[in-house]
Amino acid sequence: MTDTPETLTLDIDGWEGPMDLLLALARSQKVDLKQISILALVDQYLRFIEEAQAALELAADYLVMAAWLAYLKSALLLPRDPEVEPSPEELALRLQLRLERLNAMREAGARLVARDRVGRDVFTRGAPEGLRTMRKALWQAEIYDLIAAYGVITARTRPAMHIVAHRPVMTLEAALARVSRLVGVEIDWRLIESFLPADASGLFRKSALASSFLAALELAKQGKVELRQQSPFAPLYIRAISVAAA
């Protein structure tokens, strides 16, 4: 990077863009970047681009930079117009700052890669055994959980036996015997309730009524009795079918 402009090759492919070229030119002034003459730098760049342009196609960004630097140069040389913002001095300073930053990072990079690097200057162990961690579950359960679980299973799958707690009922068989016996001695229509035992009350009466109703239906099916009801929920009458009528 200490090449003088005269010895610079006219191959712009050697630079990574105009900033790179500018930095190379700035360094060729061999002064601290803070002290470089932006005007001299601009002249160097424009001269270089002119020479390069004759030799080959110049990339657009080099030409844009050239145009911008030509503008900067004229602005720096002409009397200052206070209306123009930013001022040419400010633009020049900004360019200088950018060059300083690029230069700083270029040097930092060079120092970084020159450090004692693993695999080049220092080495880690050639054949490490490696560490392996095998995860093992430590299963946990409490005795209470165990027996409670068994209780749940047993309760869930135990065959269920339902016992109906003491309840007075008249079975269908009893009702059948009773109704067929009583209906035989009567000739006229009678309310089904009249076949119930006289002392029947409460739950037993309800059970007797239901069973007697079923018995009446059964007897009707056998053709032994006939049933009559005027309308839904109206009183239900029952009478034996006389042999004569049949």
């Binding site: 080495f123 880690t124 162990r125 050639g126 054949a127 055994e129 490696g130 560490l131 392996r132 961690t133 095998m134 995860r135 093992k136 579950a137 430590l138 299963w139 946990q140 359960a141 409490e142 005795i143 959980d145 165990l146 027996i147 409670a148 679980a149 068994y150 209780g151 749940v152 299973i153 047993t154 309760a155 869930r156 799958t157 135990r158």
Partner: protein, 191 residues
Amino acid sequence: MTPPDATIRAVEAVLFAATEPMTADAIRVHLGGIEVRTALVALQADYAGRGIELVRRGERWHFQTAADMAHLLRRTHEEPRKLSRAGIETLAIIAYHEPATRAEIEAIRGVQISKGTIDVLMEAGWIRPAGRREVPGRPLLYATTPAFLAHFGLASRRDLPGLEDLRAAGLLDPVDLAFETMEVAKPYDED
């Protein structure tokens, strides 16, 4: 450590970075022909009793982790984990009915059990295969292990509470069912 001389340091670095054991000759050639045998012996002494040792295998030398530290390289990390509900139910059935086949366990649970559940119980060391039932298909039988008794603080399987004990403890009126009843009952309560 005592400050080692240049040769010892060089041998140490070369052997450390080497990808395979090296003969003294190979090290010597590598270091430009200097004699390394004394350095090897000195290094071996330096590392005696440390977590790393310099060992000689046949003609070749290499560093290795000290033999008594080898267990550190393959380490099992134990994580406490709670047994799943399926796991604890399966374990309970095996404990109360052992030996039991998988089909028997499923019949009692009323739910199929996944292979993973049995695996977990085996991994925990609480059940073991206990032969086969001599019926068609010869299904595997499972039984509990001494580790099972130890984990649950039981002297023997006879220490498991019987059905009557469970009933007395209210464990046959499972909390879950009680909850369901309450759920159903709620709307009426709110009337």
